[in-house]
């Protein structure tokens, strides 16, 4: 069992008797790209603001790398790089001065490191220009640069794809995956763009009305996409469901649908065969994250 890098323990946020986040408990293992999904106003941004110390925590605690945000904020936040909503920069200064500004606030950042990060986000040509001349995409990239300066163990991004063009989104996605693969950076990203999250994340947590409704793995540790459900085509669905009473399953269009990993599927198959149910076919069914999300949050579908 890997130690979780981020651990939210019974976190609640109450502002003037309104509960924005309620009893949120969540562990994010190191090295993952974790997606934090939810409709607007579900409490995503509030949770992220508590994680980076911009908001106080009403109840519970958040640990980052074992340090409590409440009691040892300076240690905890030195592990974190973040963009909270739009990356706002000092427009009257050059991009380079902006980076110098943040570099001074953290120990051990050399001018070489700044150059390196600037190259990484592809701003080398424009870094000496004032930020007010930058396009939104360039500001976003400068935002990523300031978040990465100190090689954070945890990168927190709040709605990072807001206002980016498709190419920018693609670049960001590739970049995040590269970071998590090559440098082992844990990425905690919030969004309401489901298709993006599906492509970007290993695991997603779904939050609704301040409560965590579900956490599910989208990819196996080997990087393979985890299939959400497996369909068994059998001769007698009623008999099969009786045999499989101990598994959570549902019957749809004459197929038995079960969740679970490969071992579980093999196990179910054995159980079916041993109990005389004839299995005609086994195939994975991938429902898109969007379908599941809408199912779970109970929103109306707009076809």
């Amino acid at each position: 069992m890997i130690e979780p890098l981020v651990s939210l323990r019974g976190v609640s946020k109450v502002i003037s008797s309104r509960t924005l986040v309620e009893d949120l408990t969540l562990d994010v293992p190191a090295g993952q790209v974790f997606g934090f999904l939810g409709p607007n106003g579900a409490g995503k941004t509030t949770t992220i603001r508590m994680m980076v110390g911009l908001m106080s925590i009403t109840k519970g605690d958040i640990l980052i790398g074992g340090h409590s945000i409440k009691t040892s904020y300076e240690q905890a936040s030195s592990l974190v790089g973040a963009i909270v909503e739009n990356p706002e920069m000092y427009k009257f200064m050059s991009g380079y001065k902006n980076l110098i500004h943040y570099a001074r606030m953290m120990p051990g950042i050399t001018p070489q490191r700044i150059e390196e990060v600037v190259g990484l986000v592809g701003l080398s040509d424009r870094i000496q220009d004032k930020v007010k001349t930058y396009s939104l995409g360039m500001r976003q990239r400068l935002g990523v640069a300031q978040a990465l300066l100190h090689r954070p163990k945890l990168l927190i991004l709040d709605e990072p794809t807001n206002g980016l063009d498709p190419q920018g989104i693609r670049e960001l996605r590739d970049y995040l995956r590269k970071l998590s693969r090559e440098e082992g950076t844990t990425v905690f990203v919030s969004s309401h763009l489901l298709s993006e999250m599906e492509l970007m994340c290993d695991t997603v947590g779904i939050i609704q009305q301040g409560r965590l409704v579900d956490v599910r793995q989208l990819r196996s540790p080997e990087g393979e996409r985890a299939f959400e459900e497996t369909a068994f085509a059998v001769d007698d669905t009623a008999a099969a469901s009786k045999v499989l009473a101990s598994y959570p399953l549902r019957i749809q269009e004459g197929l038995i649908l079960v969740g679970g990993d490969r071992e579980r599927i093999a196990e179910i198959n054995t159980t079916l065969v041993q109990n005389g149910v004839r299995v005609y076919g086994i195939r994975p069914v991938t429902t898109s994250l969007e379908d599941q999300f809408l199912q779970m949050t109970g929103s109306e579908r707009h076809d």
């Binding site: 908001m55 300076e74 009257f92 200064m93 606030m105």
Partner: protein, 258 residues
């Protein structure tokens, strides 16, 4: 410690990267050069220390106003620009960030004061003779001493007004409110002294506005309502500590949303 000085360097960089800061400093130089020049053209029969004190007593108002403008933007600006979020997620406690900002304001006030005093002194000295030795300066005491005491009491007033601007900037996150309110206090504080005369109201001697101008003690040993210099200094110190405590508490506890 050197790490903390880097925070102050950051705040300085933000102040001096803006063209308006340089415009304000240029205006200070112009006014402090222009006033002695005007006296010279008008052809008054004055010595250099009198000219210096007259110039300084007018132009220091500008120094105060410009420091208020800087102090008012210090916290409110970060909120308006949205940069407060990226500033507060660094591994620094809020108290230290606030202190670095306040120190940058004080540094600016010192830069402004030095520019005011130096320019006024250089131009007064170039255009006017020094007073006959042994002659009393118009501020009482020897002439240079009177002029410097005047400068010092003006700086005390600047210090208090700038702290008020810094506090309002933090509490209300509005730069214009901070500028407006603190300048209002600067200009009407003498009115308070008239309305709530400490000769008539016993409590009025604890009102801050009666004590911000310590220059009364240059001429007389007693201040408003017959209090002493140390009484005034204590009142100022207590108010400043209260303002600092309010600023720190609000800044350290505030939830940064939207």
């Amino acid at each position: 410690m050197t790490d903390f000085l880097k925070l102050v360097a950051n705040e300085n960089m933000k102040i001096y990267s803006r063209s308006r800061t340089w415009v304000m400093l240029a205006i200070l130089v112009l006014c402090n050069a222009g006033m002695p020049l005007l006296f010279y053209i008008a052809g008054g029969d004055m010595d250099r220390w009198t000219v210096f004190s007259w110039t300084e007593s007018f132009t220091f108002m500008l120094t105060t106003i410009f420091t208020v403008v800087i102090a008012a933007e210090m916290i409110a600006g970060e909120f308006t620009w949205g940069t407060i979020k990226l500033l507060l997620i660094r591994p620094w406690s809020r108290g230290k960030i606030l202190l670095s900002k306040y120190l940058a304001v004080l540094l600016f006030s010192i830069v402004g004061t030095v520019i005011t005093a130096l320019t006024a002194f250089i131009f007064s000295s170039m255009l006017f003779e020094s007073p006959a030795s042994g002659m009393e300066g118009f501020m009482g005491g020897t002439a240079p001493r009177g002029a410097l005491l005047n400068l010092l009491t003006d700086y005390v007033e600047l210090f208090v007004i700038a702290l008020i601007a810094f506090m309002i900037s933090t509490v209300f996150r509005s730069g214009s409110l901070a500028i407006g309110l603190s300048l209002f206090i600067l200009f009407v504080k003498n009115l308070f002294g008239l309305i709530f005369n400490p000769e008539r109201f016993e409590w009025a001697k604890y009102v801050l506005f009666l004590h911000t101008d310590l220059s009364v003690y240059i001429h007389s040993p007693t201040g408003p309502g017959g209090v002493s210099l140390w009484f005034s200094v204590t009142v100022l110190a207590v108010y400043c500590l209260i303002f600092a405590a309010i600023t720190w508490t609000v800044f350290a506890k505030r939830d940064v949303a939207a």
